[in-house]
């Protein structure tokens, strides 16, 4: 059998998977974005809407709507800011944690990794509801938080249904996706490199900044992509923990499909979101590409 045939056979299953679960849905969405909304939700039939200018029931009206009103692009920008903040906060929490796990004795590492993924064993919504209690007005957490900010002369403020609650929720939910790739990377570092650096005069900070950190960048990029992309499109967290002003692009998409029942406009939003996600995945893959053989 030629290697070409082998290649195609081997790449068959993943290609099929991508086709069924990615290419086809995106294709359907692209088509939907050019169609009219149906009177009672969904999509209008392709023919016979009665509009004399209509060409087979297709229109760019939903795209016009998206670009005409600045509010949608602003919502994108806001979601982008939340996703960036989430990624940065996840990185800040996950890096020390991953480093600690990677440098703990071999025996305890597996247990610690298990603890990181333990939350996955319970339902996502239950965990977010738990945060509603933690962030509630009467909770110890909220009182401690307000005590702390009060020490800096700030007025006490409710946490639940605020942007802070949304951010906390976003970071909480996505943290394991940052920890796992980072840990997988850090765990592979050769400890002899740190010995060598120290031997050659590097102090603890220089060893981290010149050796550990640059070598961990592929893990950082992978984790950043795994956090940033879902955080950009998430709707459950702002729905549950956010206030009226905490709507993100994910909520708008959900609203268009489920509440406003404007599928074409929902599709336009989804396409822009997917394009952004692909862009960031591509950037992460490019920065994280292995530089060594």
């Amino acid at each position: 059998m030629s290697t070409r045939v082998q290649k195609w056979i081997l790449s068959g299953p993943p290609l099929l998977y991508l086709l069924v679960f990615f290419a086809v849905p995106v294709g359907i969405m692209v088509v939907a974005s050019f169609r009219y909304a149906g009177e009672f939700g969904g999509l209008a039939p392709l023919f016979g809407t009665g509009d004399p200018d209509e060409v087979a029931g297709l229109t760019v009206e939903s795209y016009q709507r998206f670009f005409d009103d600045r509010i949608y692009l602003e919502l994108f920008a806001k979601s982008f800011v939340y996703a960036v903040l989430t990624t940065v906060a996840c990185l800040a929490c996950a890096y020390p944690l991953s480093l600690m796990i990677a440098r703990s004795p071999k025996k305890s590492r597996d247990l610690l990794v298990l603890l990181v993924i333990l939350p996955f064993w319970s339902n996502f919504l239950i965990r977010v509801y738990a945060w509603m209690i933690i962030l509630g007005p009467q909770s110890l957490f909220t009182r401690a938080f307000n005590g702390l900010t009060g020490a800096f002369g700030l007025e006490p403020m409710p946490l639940l249904f605020s942007p802070i609650a949304v951010l906390i929720g976003l970071v909480y939910v996505h943290l394991p996706f940052m920890v796992l790739p980072l840990y997988a990377n850090l765990e592979k570092h050769d400890p002899a490199l740190l010995d060598a650096a120290q031997d050659l005069g590097a102090n603890a900070w220089q060893r981290f900044w010149r050796i550990t950190f640059p070598l961990s960048l592929p893990g950082v990029y992978a984790g950043a992509a795994l956090v940033f992309i879902p955080a950009l499109g998430i709707f459950a967290i702002p729905d549950l923990l956010g206030g009226t002003d905490s709507m993100l692009i994910g909520n708008l998409v959900k609203q268009q499909f489920l509440d406003a029942r404007d599928w074409p406009f929902g599709s336009v939003l989804s396409i822009v979101l997917t394009a952004a996600a692909i862009l960031f995945a591509g950037l992460a893959a490019w920065f994280g590409r292995p530089k060594r053989a």
Binding site: D190, A192, L193, D195, Q198, L200, A202, Q206, R292
Partner: protein
């Protein structure tokens, strides 16, 4: 005054003594080797000198200053690791410049010094390569250049040639000797390869089970091993156990069971009745149907087996009493491919009375 003083250094892991009361004094510009079998504590001792491990007892003094509370990064000691530990994300030039950058060397000085260091190890023009783009020997040179560039007082090398093939190893040995002479920096070299130790060192400390068994220059170590362990570990050696039968001046007779009496001259120690061992190098033993006239000790026997190694052949001869004696015969003495003896051939073996070295028990 010695550059490095190791005073009664001890290191325990649990109740296992990895380094047991070692004292050494190493001079400036010396090529000093720690030689010993696997697990004898060489790396442990080296790590304590570098500062990665602390002795449980004793003290390490560099240039008159106790190193007890000095962390590795502050010791003027650099190490060439067995795995080289080159930084994979840095080019050769950045790897070599690393110690200079850590020492806050002005940027303008770095480039010329890196270039000079690369010239020293004949890697000119390789600045931009990454470690994975180098051969084993080249990596080894980068590791040495990196460790030497900021001119430490002491360079530690932990089996730096162990990963190289025999040919390359030999070349790197020659390069290391030349380099050490050029830079004049003290080398402390760790190896379990006795040939390497003999070839490179000014002095060798032979270690066993955490202790130093003998500390001498290579010819002395080879010709006058202090005890059975050293004699056996360094090179091939016949160890003939016996009892001293008589002694007069610097001559003695040793009764070796299975062999007979052996005359030994020039080895101190041993009064009649004392047990001891004659250490006899195979290359000092003659073999033949006839023996040279100066062989004071002669025994008849049969060739039991032989080992052909190209330049020499090692014969194992079983003498009439049953004792086996190893004899080394250079193949230059024979034609191109023939051998002198086959297993079963009747031969004589013999050696001069000053050929061996007596080790009292």
């Amino acid at each position: 005054m010695a550059l490095l003083e190791i005073r009664n250094v001890t290191r325990r892991f649990g109740d296992f003594l990895a380094v047991d009361d070692v004292s050494l004094s190493i001079g400036t510009g010396e090529f000093f080797t720690l030689l010993g079998p696997s697990g004898c504590g060489k790396t442990t001792l080296l790590r304590m000198i570098a500062g990665f491990d602390a002795p449980d007892g004793g003290e390490i003094v560099l240039d008159g200053q106790s190193m007890t509370d000095v962390p590795p990064e502050a010791r003027n000691i650099h190490t060439v690791f067995q795995s080289y530990a080159l930084f994979p994300h840095m080019t050769v030039a950045d790897n070599i410049a690393f110690p200079l950058r850590m020492a806050k060397c002005p940027a303008a000085d770095i480039t010329p010094r890196v270039k000079e260091a690369l010239d020293d190890v004949s890697l000119a023009g390789m600045e931009k390569r990454f470690p994975h783009e180098l051969s084993g020997g080249q990596r080894q040179r980068v590791a040495v250049a990196r460790a030497l560039i900021s001119r430490p007082k002491l360079l530690l090398l932990d089996e730096p040639l162990a990963a190289l093939d025999a040919k390359l190893k030999e070349r790197m040995q020659l390069e290391l000797i030349t380099l050490q002479k050029e830079v004049g920096i003290t080398f402390v070299y760790v190896t379990h390869d006795q040939e390497e130790a003999l070839a490179l060192s000014h002095r060798i400390a032979v270690m066993n089970k955490g202790r130093v068994e003998q500390l001498d220059d290579p010819p002395t170590i080879y010709s006058f091993p202090k005890n059975r362990f050293v004699a056996d570990f360094i090179g091939e050696c016949n160890l003939l156990d016996g009892t001293v039968a008589s002694q007069a001046g610097d001559a003695m007779t040793l009764d070796v069971p299975g062999l007979g009496s052996v005359r030994i001259v020039g080895s101190p120690g041993g009064s009649p009745g004392a047990a001891g061992t004659l250490a006899l190098r195979p290359e000092k033993v003659s073999i033949g149907r006839e023996l040279p006239a100066d062989c004071a000790n002669r025994f008849h026997g049969r060739v039991f087996d032989y080992l052909y190694t190209g330049d020499v052949t090692l014969y194992i001869v079983e003498v009439e009493g049953g004792q086996r004696v190893e004899v080394m015969l250079p193949n230059s003495a024979v034609g191109r491919s023939s051998k002198f003896f086959e297993p079963g051939d009747g031969v004589q073996v013999g050696w001069r009375d000053d050929a061996g070295h007596f080790l009292p028990d």
